[in-house]
């Protein structure tokens, strides 16, 4: 099934925005009604294309936030001085059209048969594809143990906060807040470094599977630390979002 989906033609099509949900002050989830959606895998993304009246075109990629089987949704962070993200977070409304193509990707995906234990490492909006993986795991009844390390600037920047406060059985969520912590905070309060990862990561001997997603600098630091601690490089999957305001 997944194999056939990978070999189909990738075409641009027009979807309708069915809902816009506020996640944080600068983050929105757009739920989409896509007429010819072939289904997707957890971890995949789609490409968006915007066209203005003069024919100017802007394209961007966004990870799919929903699990296979759920309505297609993307989560977008408004970037200061961004050309596309402010349009998606502030202007777009339910009923608007949005041109997209997808799903895209086959490297940064997870299926229950891929096993675990799973180590998910999110830097800022890098949590989006990892949340799709978590939801897919729950919907399929997988019992693979999961630890999610989620790095954010402040508690107010945590996306899917309520959902992550009630994780599914077998899922452990560990936050680190790098810029500001609420009074009484007893959790991690710094950027992910080797020492922090040593406390949080599954031991390499457990043959874990790691997915690292977020700003490029976060992904480089974390993936290198995991490999240095004994994770085989082929068991550390990475997706770089470029330099964003994530962490």
């Amino acid at each position: 099934m997944a194999g056939t989906a990978l070999r189909r033609r990738l075409i641009w099509q027009v979807a309708k925005v069915s809902a816009v949900t506020t996640e944080t002050a600068s983050v929105r989830t757009l739920t989409l009604d896509v007429p010819d959606w072939p289904g997707h895998q957890a971890g995949q993304h789609l490409d968006i294309r915007l066209t203005d009246e003069d024919g100017y075109v802007a394209e961007r990629s966004y990870s799919i936030a929903s699990a296979p089987g759920e309505p297609v949704a993307i989560t977008v962070e408004r970037l200061e001085d961004g050309e596309v993200s402010p349009y998606l977070t502030d202007e777009l409304r339910a009923g608007d059209d949005l041109e997209l193509r997808g799903p895209i990707g086959g490297y940064f995906t997870w299926e229950p048969e891929d096993g675990g234990p799973l180590l998910l490492l999110a830097g800022g909006s890098g949590v989006v594809p990892l949340r799709s993986i978590l939801r897919h795991r729950e919907r399929t009844g997988s019992t693979v143990p999961v630890r999610l390390l989620y790095s954010s600037r402040t508690l107010d920047d945590v996306i899917y906060r309520a959902e992550l406060e009630q994780p599914a059985r077998g899922v452990e969520v560990i936050h680190t807040l790098t810029r500001h912590q609420p009074p009484g905070w007893t959790g991690y309060a710094r950027r992910a470094d080797m020492a922090l990862l040593a406390e949080v990561a599954w031991p390499a001997a457990d043959m874990p599977l790691a997915y690292v997603c977020g700003p490029t600098s976060f992904v480089e630091t974390v993936s290198q630390a995991l490999v240095q601690s004994g994770y085989p490089p082929e068991r550390v999957k990475t997706e770089r979002f470029g330099a964003t305001g994530g962490t």
């Binding site: 641009w12 066209t51 024919g55 100017y56 349009y87 202007e91 608007d96 059209d97 949005l98 041109e99």
Partner: protein, 201 residues
């Protein structure tokens, strides 16, 4: 054409402020986008040199020697082939006229070679007569690595891919051989006022 996205528009500019200064197809930006085809080189000044010449006959300056050359303050508009233009950018640099005079060479063509392997070609006639510099400062500060520091070529009358970052030499040649982007179909000359973005334009 794809369906128009309701309410989407590219960054707007004030036409009154920019009349006559913006080549066709460009929009004015206030920020300074960083575009690169590779990682930012970080070259230590004590290892830096700049050369002009051909074959075995090169004139080379160390950083200290280069900074001792007469330099100028330059205020120019710059135009990137990816459609952004930035007006009134302020630089400090050594005129290529000065460098060519001291090297005792002339054209007809030059290939700029840069740390990281980037190249671009420019006719010597477009590098002389006060049209080009090797710039080491931007906005009153030493040029940052992400914008081409320690020094970059500055040829503002052509599209900005010709203003090669991390420049280390101007190799003089008899033929107008294409550089990195020119090889892939970008225009061999690159005049923004004639919108010469691609070969054949």
């Amino acid at each position: 054409m794809s369906p128009v996205s309701r309410g989407f528009h590219r960054r707007r500019q004030d036409p009154a402020q920019t009349a006559g200064r913006v080549p066709p197809g460009q929009y004015v930006t206030k920020d300074f986008p960083v575009l690169s085809a590779g990682p930012t080189p970080h070259t230590a000044l004590d290892g830096w040199s700049f050369s002009v010449g051909r074959g075995g006959q090169q004139k080379t300056w160390s950083w200290a020697e280069f900074r001792a050359l007469p330099s100028e303050d330059i205020t120019v508009d710059i135009h990137c082939v990816t459609k952004w233009s930035k007006l009134d950018t302020v630089w400090q640099g050594v005129s290529v006229d000065t460098l060519l005079d001291l090297a005792g060479h002339d054209g007809p063509f030059a290939m700029a070679h840069c740390d990281g392997g980037y190249t671009t070609n420019v006719p010597v006639a477009d590098l002389t007569g006060g049209q080009a510099w090797v710039a080491y400062a931007y906005g009153g500060q030493p040029l940052e690595p992400e914008h081409g520091g320690p020094a970059r070529l500055l040829v503002p009358h052509l599209y900005f891919w010709k203003s090669a970052k991390w420049v280390r030499s101007l190799e003089l040649r008899d033929t107008n051989d294409p550089g990195f982007w020119e090889n892939y179909g970008y225009h061999i000359y690159g005049d923004p006022w004639r919108e010469q973005r691609y070969a054949g334009d």
